[in-house]
């Protein structure tokens, strides 16, 4: 039976869903240090779709690709614990300050280096940059079609995949040739949990930079068990043009960032007694807000 090569794009993001007061600095910038770094939620949905293809077509492989600081290697381990086969960390100071165009350029170079693929699965949107642009831009750079807002890969036929999309006002099912890039929404099935055996297998999987801090006693393991070596690539490894990366490769610039402040009003506080509410209703009727 057929098997497929799948690449999952996953980003490590600060958890912006529960931002407390201390997460915002005085100057309106975000204090990343106090927010936990997590696997971007919709990238977990994408990973699950990839793992389902692998369940259905044994012999398929799931490869993670993440670009970020050295600690983003955590994302690869997290994916391995859930059933991915391997993963690459793309890290280099030259990537800093990349907008979505420069990010997608770097990711597309890395994908070319990884080699053949049938499917690239990405999250629809990352919860920090919030743009939802990287998926389609990677597809354009690789010259493959895209299906965004996917909720399920329904079927894979001989040379076509059938994908159901979740749009604002309904659902749409499309059929596309592959290789193909698919972005997956949060309404897709949640990712399976970590697998205890895989945690045992991969908990010491590290990149070369992480290994600088590993005690001597363990170093021998990496020769015996190559799967514990998480490949780490820099700009040279992916043969990228430096001027298309980072700030110089980014047409968009952040001119200003502000904390969200709403025009505070002095609310008139009313108790919930009969008189107050009757007064308010009369007021709304007489000034024609109601009726």
């Amino acid at each position: 039976m057929k098997n497929f090569k799948i690449i999952v794009l996953a980003k490590q993001v600060p958890d912006t869903r529960n931002v407390g007061k201390d997460a915002m600095k005085e100057d309106g910038t975000v204090n990343r240090a106090v927010l936990p770094a997590i696997f971007n939620p919709e990238d977990l949905n994408a990973l699950e779709q990839a793992l389902r293809i692998k369940d259905k077509y044994p012999g398929s492989t799931v490869t993670l690709l993440t670009m970020g600081p050295p600690r983003a290697a955590e994302i690869i381990r997290e994916g391995l614990y859930r059933g991915a086969d391997n993963g690459y960390l793309l890290t280099d100071r030259a990537f800093a300050g990349s907008d979505t165009l420069a990010t997608s350029y770097a990711l597309s170079r890395a994908i070319m280096k990884i080699g053949d693929f049938d499917f690239i699965l990405a999250g629809r949107q990352a919860i920090d940059g919030d743009t939802a642009q990287v998926g389609p831009q990677v597809a354009e750079k690789l010259g493959v079609p895209q299906v965004t807002y996917a909720e399920e890969i329904v079927d894979i036929k001989k040379n076509k995949a059938v994908v159901r999309r979740r749009l604002e006002k309904g659902v749409e099912t499309v059929e596309s040739v592959f290789p193909l890039l698919i972005t997956v929404t949060g309404t897709a099935p949640a990712c399976r949990p970590r697998n205890a055996k895989l945690i045992m297998k991969y908990k010491r999987a590290t990149t070369i930079s992480e290994r600088q801090n590993v005690s001597e006693d363990y170093i021998f393991m990496y020769d015996d068990r190559p799967f514990l070596n998480l490949p780490e690539w820099n700009v040279g490894d992916i043969e990228a043009e430096p001027e298309r990366l980072g700030l110089s490769g980014s047409p968009t610039k952040v001119k200003k960032v502000e904390n969200v402040v709403f025009q505070a009003k002095e609310a008139k506080v009313l108790e919930a007694d009969n008189q107050s509410i009757e007064w308010l209703m009369k007021e709304l009727i007489s000034n024609h807000t109601l009726g």
Binding site: L101, V260, F262, K265, A272, L280, I285, L290
Partner: protein
């Protein structure tokens, strides 16, 4: 050359509200920039649509009309926009931040290597000085957007690249016909010249679009319920009150997630943006993502049993109490006092 383009999206054969909102805003921006506004409409059987685009402020309307373009698919639409922009060299290009614009926009911007700002809530014309390069850019599009889960507002510029592209969130800009009747020039896009046969490798095989009966955007009064309403049954009170006063019922995301209300009633960053005459927030705490969708309401009344709830900071009246006690009283005293 150097004009402002709006890529118009269609809904049930007419121009979608979001695109009319963009044309309304685009008209003002084009006047400020001293350029023309051009609309690009892609689809099938487009005859007559130009009139609406003119009414909302387009000077030129491009029609890309072809049977193969009846339903939106990424690749042929991208080819048309990319080739037309290469030919016409606009300075600004706007799309809706809908599933259409957020699928098409990034693909087009990548092909043109131009910057794209996502999900803007305001657009202005302004200047920018790059202190390090000692260079000042005039007449730039300042693209204002929330990021970081709605917790910050960023102003983004694309000083060196044209077109300056942005997607704009639905409902945040007003939709208004021009005062004077207008007309303009209609231009046909030579579809066969721009699209390639290999653009048609993705086919729509099924579509189920639900006609939503909920009209939050047009409602003068909205009664909105949050997690504090407590249950789907308690939401019935809100519907009763709404029917009585001719209002529409909205909801916070927590209420939608809890199953108290349907998704198409959600107000806020990931829901609808509204600006009614009166917004009654019942059992809603007022997190930034919710407020982002209702802060322009002319009057806000909150019903909450916690005086410290953030919603009270933007409310005109804060009723301290339980929803289940307050709403029946509002119904009662409304009935007694209206004739």
């Amino acid at each position: 050359m150097d004009n402002l383009f709006v890529i118009c999206e269609l809904e049930n054969g007419t121009i979608a509200d979001i695109s009319l909102e963009l044309l309304t805003k685009g008209r003002k921006l084009a006047d400020q920039l001293g350029c023309k506004q051009e609309a690009l409409i892609i689809g099938h059987k487009l005859k007559g649509l130009e009139k609406e685009a003119f009414d909302y402020g387009a000077d030129v309307v491009w029609l890309a009309d072809d049977a193969r373009l009846e339903h939106y698919t990424t690749l042929p639409y991208t080819s048309i926009a990319v080739e037309l922009f290469r030919q016409e060299k606009p300075q600004v290009a706007l799309l809706g931040a809908t599933s259409y614009g957020r699928d098409l926009g990034p693909r087009v911007s990548s092909a043109l290597s131009s910057g794209l700002t996502a999900d803007c809530t305001a657009l202005e014309i302004g200047e920018h000085t790059d202190k390090r390069a000692g260079k000042t850019y005039k007449n730039l599009l300042l693209q204002i957007r929330p990021a970081f889960g709605g917790n910050i507002i960023a102003t983004i510029i694309n000083p060196e690249h044209k077109p300056q592209m942005a997607t704009v969130r639905e409902g945040v800009m007003k939709m208004e016909k021009c005062k004077e009747p207008r007309s303009g020039e209609v231009k046909k896009v030579d579809v066969d010249k721009f699209v390639r046969p290999e653009d048609f490798v993705v086919n729509v095989i099924e579509r189920h679009m639900e006609e939503s009966g909920v009209n939050l955007k047009g409602a003068p009064v909205i009664i909105s319920g949050g997690y504090g309403v407590g249950s789907k049954e308690n939401f019935e009170m809100l519907y009763q009150f709404a029917e009585l006063i001719g209002a529409e019922v909205g909801a916070s995301r927590a209420a939608v997630d809890a199953g108290f209300a349907e998704h198409d009633r959600q107000i806020g960053q990931t829901g609808v943006t509204v600006r009614p005459k009166l917004y009654i927030a019942c059992g809603i705490s007022g997190q930034v993502q919710h407020i982002a969708g209702m802060q322009e309401s002319a009057m806000v009344i909150s019903v909450n049993n916690d005086q410290e709830a953030p919603i009270n900071k933007i409310a005109d009246y804060a009723i301290l109490g339980n929803v289940e006690d307050v709403i029946p009283k509002m119904i009662k005293y409304y009935k007694e006092n209206s004739k």
